[in-house]
């Protein structure tokens, strides 16, 4: 057993380091509403680990929900830990200080469970690094009975394979439903890792990768991912909250001292999205769509405001503007809290006049800027991706924005979408031109920010069969774009296609990709999601050393009947349906939003066990 430092010693050592690091308050905890329990008073200690810095992690709603739910149990203490920034990491390694939690400054390896939130692929190297800093064996098979159980959940867990070598168990689906069972199972199977893993594999919504063996075909594709024993389920179905209206939601949110990405009361108005954009993974894995009632949301807003003192309420979800009765909700919130000077914000807007009017009601005085996401530059390509927005929609939305006093809009696009031609890329510039022409015809000044990212095909989406554009193609398209958008009041920014390429490899990778991940971490990769830290050359070197071919994962057109590394993870949406959507995409045929139109038969209402309350799906 490794020497575990006591929390008193760690606390003292941290104080010595803090004068030398930036933003020391990232590492001290003690915020309002932090929950600190005596470790001796609980049976299970759960360290929630977010693989990014404090300011990012503390803005994550999932983390806050789980913190609340776990700490509600009297037998469990849940504490937080985040990825230390590089200056802090250097100091910690120099002083041999292990990764610690903010609440009690305990070393993370003294916990029973360490749970990582996998929100995006580019944080994977941080997960490995945090395990190493915690003095927990990075490779799961090296862990012994005294080591914590390392679990991971979040959207990326839906293709767990690239992380399979490092994680003991993945939570598939909505954490609220699974964590309780996870804690109970750990309690019942102490000191016997093997028995614990086997018991966990039988818990609905839990995937234990070490109990599954991938078998490969000669061409390197997967023949099957087989369970090692007959009592291990062949596939793992996601769990969803059965009663979203009444699911436990935190009211006493931790109020960070230092400025975080989001500083506000978060109202989760709905889960899921039925718009059916074909590139969108979240829209598939979070089905079925469920909404909370206005009464419930107002009650939750009241409570959160009272306990936190925040001055802003944000309506969060994948597409809050699609919430039934959004206008009524927004207005009742504005009216209710106006005297308290509490503002309301709506992070995602649809490109239509109704939405702009709503935004205008919210931002009565200050007009910061409106964001629309047409995603593609031509109607043809928007039809391919099933983004049901027309140029007229966009123009009427911009027109309404101008009428309401906005002088700045942001437009988001993707390049490298399936079937894209250079004309589609040039269409982005043409769309921007129409927006500018509109402003000119109305004699209004308008600044346009154009944000462009490279398309990354994702697992469990209609485009999971599609190749990503080669780096050369993406670079060329960025160049075309750059040359076609040259107006004084338009600024163009784009994400690094190289980073998107790595994201594509990790997002649709199999278990073999883990070797490259381990290698690149060894070579020093951290914070790959940060432009200034991402090093493409290092990744390529790691691919070469480990014999992982990035083209195989990123740029290969996958066969219709190919077995995918994530096929044994069941989202409840039929793979067959995804394929049909991909075929419709090829022909440029759109489908309607199933919340308003007819059921598209994606399978979610047939495949999930039990009844999901508040779901918009028809009964089967």
């Amino acid at each position: 057993m490794s020497l575990k430092l006591t929390h008193e010693i760690i606390k003292e050592e941290i104080q010595k380091i803090l004068p030398r690091v930036t933003k020391p308050a990232r590492y001290t905890g003690g915020e309002w509403n932090e929950i600190k329990k005596d470790p001796a008073s609980v049976d299970v200690r759960f360290a929630l680990a977010f693989p990014d810095v404090y300011e990012v992690g503390m803005s994550n709603l999932g983390l806050r929900i789980l913190y609340h739910i776990l700490n509600k149990r009297s037998d469990t203490a849940c504490e937080r830990t985040f990825a230390p920034a590089s200056d802090m990491e250097d100091e910690m390694r120099r002083e041999s200080l292990p990764l610690f939690t903010l609440e009690t400054h305990s070393s993370v390896n003294s916990f029973d469970i360490v749970g990582f939130s996998l929100a995006y692929e580019m944080t994977y190297t941080n997960v490995l690094n945090m395990l190493d800093l915690a003095e927990i064996p990075v490779i799961a098979s090296d862990r012994g009975n005294d080591d914590p159980l390392v679990v991971a959940g979040g959207h990326c867990a839906y293709n767990p394979e690239p992380m399979a070598d490092f994680i003991d168990a993945f939570v598939i689906g909505e954490g609220e439903e699974v964590v309780g069972q996870l804690v109970d199972t750990v309690k019942k199977n102490r000191g016997d890792r093997k028995a614990l893993l086997l018991a966990l594999a039988k818990v609905p919504g839990v995937y234990v990768p070490s109990l599954y063996n991938p078998v490969y075909n000669e061409d390197g594709t997967i023949r099957a991912v087989e369970p090692v024993a007959s009592d291990v389920p062949a596939s793992v179905k996601k769990l969803v909250v059965a009663d979203f209206e009444n699911v436990d939601f935190p009211d006493r949110l931790i109020v960070p001292f230092i400025e975080t990405v989001h500083e506000r009361v978060a109202l989760e108005v709905m889960r899921g999205c039925t718009r059916g954009c074909r590139f969108c993974q979240a829209g598939v894995i979070t089905r079925p769509v469920r909404e909370k009632s206005r009464e419930k949301l107002i009650q939750q807003a009241d409570e959160q405001l009272k306990w936190t003192g925040y001055e802003e309420i944000s309506l969060v979800s994948l597409s809050s503007a699609d919430y039934t009765g959004i206008g009524g909700l927004v207005h009742s919130l504005i009216d209710r809290y106006e005297d308290q000077r509490v503002g309301v914000s709506l992070p995602s807007l649809r490109a239509d006049t109704e939405c702009v009017q709503l935004a205008a009601d919210i931002e009565r005085v200050r007009k910061s800027g409106l964001t629309f996401a047409p995603e593609a530059g031509t109607q043809r390509l928007r039809d391919v991706i099933n983004k049901n927005v027309s140029e007229e929609d966009l123009l009427s939305a911009v027109s309404a924005a101008l009428d309401n006093g906005w002088r700045k809009v942001k437009l988001y696009f993707m390049i490298g979408l399936p079937t894209e031609t250079d004309d589609d890329v040039l269409g982005i510039g043409k769309t921007v031109q129409s927006v500018l022409d509109l402003a000119r015809s109305k004699k209004k000044q308008l600044n346009v920010n154009v944000g462009v990212s490279s398309f990354v095909p994702k697992a469990h989406t209609p485009f999971q069969w599609r190749p990503q554009d080669s780096l050369e193609d993406l670079d060329r398209k960025v160049k075309i774009l750059h040359e076609s958008i040259r107006w004084r009041n338009v600024s163009l920014s784009w994400g690094d296609p190289k980073a998107s390429r790595i994201e594509a490899v990790l997002g649709r990778g199999d278990r073999r990709v883990g070797k490259a991940l381990y290698e690149v971490w060894k070579m020093g990769a951290r914070f790959d999601g940060w432009n200034d830290r991402f090093d493409y050359g290092r990744w390529n070197q790691a691919f070469e050393t480990t014999g992982v071919d990035p083209d195989f994962y990123a740029n290969r057109r996958r066969e219709e009947n190919e077995v995918f590394p994530w096929d044994h993870i069941d989202t409840g949406v039929d793979k067959r349906w995804l394929l049909v959507q991909d075929r419709l995409a090829e022909k440029g045929i759109t489908v309607a939003d199933c919340k308003t139109g007819e059921c598209l038969n994606c399978g979610i209402n047939r495949n999930l066990p039990g009844k999901v309350n508040g779901s918009f799906c028809p009964e089967v």
Partner: protein, 211 residues
């Protein structure tokens, strides 16, 4: 409209907060306490409060001063209790006084008394420290660079250092005058002292009081 002067401490637990962090914490404390604080007009209404002097990251204080403006009157003790109920560990209000009608609109202080603990890898004696302080005080001009905006500016900090008393073997009690946009930092003073006692560095800074 009523003004109150609050005296509070910034303790070890919140030592690493910067001034803006503390300001934001107070804004939320005021909201949670639901006290009738006055808000500014305009696009971005802010609670009307002003600190006598900002405390830097890593610095603690026993008697920090904040002035609050309220729309309605409140019993000072009642205000104190309501705010203290909402205080994170490490911040506590020790005294609340009502500013009489026609009283000052902001807190006027002219200087700070800082207790600075110092250390040196190679060690030092009290005599050596006293000697360094004497040599420091004997000078008329001690220029330091300050990053103000784009251009670093040279400032003479010596006139703002009223006195430095060597208190025990590793503590310095400094009386520092708050000047026009310039107050010397204890770390700057210790850096100069290190010219006479190489390797001397600040371990901790604590503001005892303002005067």
């Amino acid at each position: 409209m009523v003004r109150f002067v609050l005296k509070f401490n910034k303790g070890e637990e919140v030592r690493w907060l910067g001034h803006l962090d503390l300001l934001r914490a107070f804004e939320r404390i005021l909201r949670r306490a639901e006290v009738p604080v006055t808000y500014s007009q305009g696009f971005n209404p802010r609670a009307k409060m002003s600190f006598a002097s900002a405390l830097g990251v890593g610095v603690t204080g026993d008697e920090e001063i904040l002035m609050l403006q309220m729309d309605e009157d409140l019993q000072p003790d009642h205000l104190k209790d309501r705010l203290n109920e909402q205080m994170p560990a490490g911040i506590h209000i020790n005294e609340v006084t009502r500013v009489p009608d026609g009283g000052p609109k902001s807190v006027q202080v002219s200087g700070s008394e800082m207790l600075v603990s110092v250390r040196r890898e190679a060690g030092f004696t009290e005599g050596e420290l006293k000697d360094a302080v004497e040599r420091f005080m004997a000078r008329d001009e001690i220029n330091v660079f300050r990053d103000k905006g784009k251009r670093p500016k040279m400032v003479n900090l010596r006139p703002s250092v009223e006195s430095i008393i060597v208190d025990g073997s590793s503590h310095l009690l400094m009386r520092l005058t708050h000047g026009e946009g310039f107050t010397p930092k204890p770390s700057e003073i210790v850096e100069v002292l290190a010219e006479y006692l190489p390797g001397l560095e600040v371990e901790k800074v604590h503001r005892v009081k303002m005067y």
